[in-house]
């Protein structure tokens, strides 16, 4: 249970505060409602590149990191397809430093060619390190454009190609900033040993004078329903074949989102999951296998991905996966299996409610997709998924026409 109080400033900035007096540390989380899905298809990777530039100094403060480190603070950020999230933890008595720093970079970044030049190179190295120079690193670069033809989820947050990053200009950076970074497009969440009204005063003092901006209207193309199975085969210099299959699933606020998530738990949540038991242990077709959802706000993907055992053909592996998925659509989960899935989620949510940073992030995220207090409804929402709904949803998800298959073939050496 995460209790919180919500405030809204006149300029539209939302503030969520959760007091937790059991720790000397405070977490300050600032979420901007802009992600890779808001990018121009010809300039992908921009939201993430921009996140890097947010650490290059702002209009009144030349260095973001130095004053924060001076206050005993630590910080980082991440970008995904839906939003960009900046976070700070620091000793609670220095919390105003976080407000000072975050409000100044919301007010105006120090747009500099030098910073852009360097971060372009850094991000290209990140692209190389995590996607291109690592075995299987490009699976998502292949799978997304296979599963999506139209919606901007068809590219990864890192971008379609390093060339897009190389071409970013300072003018584009400025335009992006003023059309997405704004108090009326952000959620500030704070957790720690704090008094909510004092935090609201701090927010007003530092963020209150930043004027609303014209945030670009989000008008994303809808992904048309998939009407036939898709297959992509690639060959790479890796030691083992990998199979990845993606299925379109409901969006984050749909009640069946929770059903799809529970389905992946039944398939691969822990070692008692069906795919591990049947396909790794019993039939020994895979050496490892996993299933998960992308968790996107718009219609996302449910993924099954596994590394094939030697001398197993793709066709055989795909048939075995299909049998397991089919069974979920035909036979109800037992009460015992369903209860196990509920319990796992309840425990995981409990384990994740320990650190102030986790709590601040959870609150900001739930405010984005609905309201912060809904974080406390998650357990109930998982627990309301019935065996009947699992079957129904499995039938829709695992229809052959809803499947995109990537055969990632190892070069014979």
């Amino acid at each position: 249970m995460i209790d919180s109080i919500k405030y809204t400033l006149d300029n539209g900035l939302k503030l969520i505060v959760h007091p937790d007096h059991s720790t000397p540390m405070a977490a300050v989380n600032l979420l901007y409602n802009v992600g890779a899905k808001d990018e121009d298809p010809n300039r992908t990777g921009f939201a993430h590149l921009f996140e890097h530039l947010m650490f290059g100094g702002s209009v009144n403060i030349p260095s973001f990191d130095e004053p924060l480190q001076h206050a005993g603070g630590d910080n980082n950020a991440f970008t995904n397809n839906d939003f960009t999230n900046y976070y700070i933890t620091l000793p609670a008595q220095n919390i105003e430093t976080a407000f000072w720093l975050e409000s100044d970079r919301m007010l105006q970044l120090d747009f500099s060619e030098k910073s852009l030049n360097t971060q372009r190179n850094v991000v290209i190295e990140e692209f190389n390190q995590n996607y291109l120079n690592r075995p299987y690193g490009d699976i998502w670069l292949l799978l997304r454009p296979l599963a999506y033809t139209t919606h901007p989820y068809r590219w990864c947050t890192i971008g379609i190609t390093p060339d897009h990053i190389k071409q970013a200009t300072l003018d584009q950076v400025k335009t992006f900033f003023y059309s997405h970074y704004a108090p009326n497009n952000a959620i500030l969440s704070v957790a720690g040993p704090v008094e909510p009204d004092a935090i609201a005063e701090l927010a007003q003092r530092w963020f209150g004078s930043i004027e609303r901006r014209n945030v670009a209207t989000r008008n994303l193309p809808t992904e048309p329903p998939q009407t036939e199975p898709r297959l992509l085969e690639v060959e790479r210099d890796v030691p083992f074949d990998v199979l990845a299959q993606a299925f379109h699933m409901p969006n984050r606020t749909n009640a069946e989102f929770y059903t799809a998530d529970l389905i992946t738990d039944a398939l691969a949540g822990g070692k008692s999951g069906r795919l591990y038991q049947r396909l790794v242990r019993e039939q020994q077709l895979f050496s490892s296998i996993n299933s998960f959802i992308t968790g996107d706000i718009d219609n996302g993907l449910l993924v099954v991905q596994g590394q094939l055992a030697p001398n197993v053909a793709f066709e055989q592996a795909e048939q075995a996966v299909a049998n397991e998925l089919h069974q979920l659509a035909e036979q109800p989960l037992t009460n015992n299996e369903l209860q196990k899935l509920y319990n796992r989620h309840e425990a995981n949510i409990k384990f994740e409610e320990i650190s102030v940073l986790d709590k601040a992030m959870t609150l900001g995220y739930h405010e984005l997709i609905g309201q912060a207090s809904d974080a406390n409804l998650e357990v109930e929402r998982y627990n309301s998924v019935s065996a009947e709904r699992v079957m129904q949803q499995a039938r829709i998800l695992f229809a052959p026409n809803n499947c995109s298959t990537l055969r990632y073939r190892a070069t014979k050496r």
């Binding site: 937790d20 059991s22 720790t23 000397p24 540390m25 009144n60 403060i61 990191d65 130095e66 480190q69 001076h70 206050a71 005993g72 603070g73 630590d74 933890t89 000793p91 220095n94 430093t97 407000f99 000072w100 030049n117 360097t118 971060q119 372009r120 190179n121 850094v122 991000v123 290209i124 190295e125 990140e126 190389n128 390190q129 995590n130 120079n133 690592r134 530092w206 210099d237 030691p239 083992f240 949540g269 822990g270 070692k271 008692s272 790794v280 242990r281 020994q284 050496s287 490892s288 590394q307 196990k340 319990n343 796992r344 989620h345 309840e346 425990a347 995981n348 409990k350 409610e353 320990i354």
Partner: protein
């Protein structure tokens, strides 16, 4: 409000560390208890002297640890997984170079049931052949995949060159070792290193008499014999720098691992060396990050760590850099070490690092689980000397630029360095 003027900040001059209670278990083992927190979550970690340094056969420690959860005399792997998942409890095993850990995360409601499973995992694993075949195949495949990575190759060559191929910390496995390991190796290793040696249990969370009594009941069984510890020393680092390279012509990036043995956590200068290492490469604003990432854009990230072993410690710097920047990156790393030997750290920079570290220390002692991590570190790396943590806090507050300069001249020298790179064309 003037946005040019930072808000006032202050940092505590003193950090409260949650106390650690210690007592003996019935089987010559010990339990350390960190009581605190507000959540209904309990964590117990069993530390056994069963790391890879003790193995007679390569992979013996790692596969024994991986097989503990694959079935006991009382339950199959599937039954165990089902029961744990049903309770929402977690039991995990990991093997290191010196110690192996079995850790448990649960709620008060399921403590007893989870502890009884934990006891089974520790005391009565069955090592079924069928499960062993599956674990070996999975591990063999993920090992083979890792061999393709430049950072794996650079790290292996670093360790082999620092310690030597026959040293327990330096030898590395090959694919063939996966064929040589068998069930009897696991049974033997488990007996000699999990059952016959005393264990340490670190229990954290809201712990009362009931919880301690339960741990005693389930984990206090058996009769270990305490054997004296035989230290494994690192070879002296007196040679000229050694350069190794693993060529992979089409790699986009080169992994650079640079390291040497240095003083261990038992040495009185270690806390100050930790501060020095932070300046060099231990935080986002470090010299290496500023130079190689923020100024030159050679890499996504570079860091320097002091990697502790029970009887040794490595200074280790690593990064993956664009393949055309390898030599410049190495030169810059050597240059940054040189600067710390030549010029005292300016007072402003030292103050910044000290403040950053005070914040880090507050995080390290924030709550029972973080504090228990420091207790586990003390047990594994400096004979359970918990005062080490207080000395670290004092050193961060008081160490001077002059002391750090002297330390840099002793420890950040090229003598004994191994410069290991992987990725890119062969060296000319």
């Amino acid at each position: 409000m003037n946005r040019h003027i930072p808000p006032q900040t202050s940092l505590p001059t003193h950090i409260d560390i949650l106390p650690t209670a210690q007592q003996a278990l019935g089987n010559r083992g010990r339990i350390a208890i960190v009581n605190g927190g507000t959540q209904d979550v309990l964590r117990a970690t069993i530390i056994t002297e069963s790391g890879s340094r003790y193995q007679q056969q390569m992979l013996q420690a790692r596969i024994t640890s991986a097989m503990l959860m694959e079935g006991t005399r009382n339950a199959t792997a599937l039954q165990m997984a089902e029961q744990l998942d049903f309770m929402g409890s977690i039991i995990e095993t990991t093997a290191g170079a010196d110690f192996s850990l079995i850790s448990m995360l649960t709620t008060h409601q399921h403590l007893e049931r989870t502890l009884s499973m934990l006891a089974d995992v520790l005391q009565q694993p069955a090592f079924p052949q069928h499960e062993l075949d599956i674990v070996l195949r999975k591990q063999r495949q993920s090992f083979a995949v890792n061999q393709e990575r430049v950072d794996t190759q650079a790290r292996k060559a670093l360790m082999a060159n620092i310690f030597g191929n026959s040293h327990p910390y330096g030898r590395t496995a090959t694919l063939e070792h996966f064929n040589a390991i068998d069930r009897q190796h696991l049974i033997d290793f488990h007996k000699s290193h999990y059952l016959d040696k005393p264990i340490m249990v670190v229990l954290a969370g809201q712990v009362g008499d009931r919880e301690i009594a339960l741990v005693e009941r389930y984990l206090g069984q058996g009769n270990a014999t305490a054997a004296p510890h035989t230290p494994l020393l690192a070879p002296p680092a007196t040679h000229e720098p050694i350069r190794t390279h693993w060529a992979k012509p089409d790699a986009l990036q080169c992994a650079i691992h640079i390291g040497k043995p240095t003083i261990t956590r038992r040495h009185p200068d270690f806390p100050a060396l930790m501060v020095l290492n932070t300046v060099l490469g231990g935080y986002f604003g470090s010299r290496l990050m500023t130079n190689l990432r923020e100024e030159k854009g050679y890499t996504y990230g570079i860091g320097s760590i002091l990697m502790p072993y029970r009887d040794a410690c490595l200074l280790s710097i690593k990064a993956e850099v664009g393949a055309n920047h390898t030599e410049s990156a190495i030169a810059e790393i050597m240059h940054e070490m040189d600067c710390l030997r030549q010029t005292p750290i300016p007072p402003q920079e030292l103050e910044l690092v000290k403040n950053y570290l005070m914040g880090e220390l507050l995080r390290q002692f924030d709550g029972p689980f973080a504090t228990a991590d420091t207790v586990m570190g003390a047990y594994q790396h400096n004979d359970m000397d918990l005062d080490y943590r207080v000395r670290t806090i004092d050193t961060v507050r008081t160490v001077t630029s002059a002391q750090l300069l002297q330390l840099a001249q002793q420890h950040l020298t090229p003598k004994g360095l191994v410069i290991s790179t992987a990725g890119g064309p062969a060296l000319s």
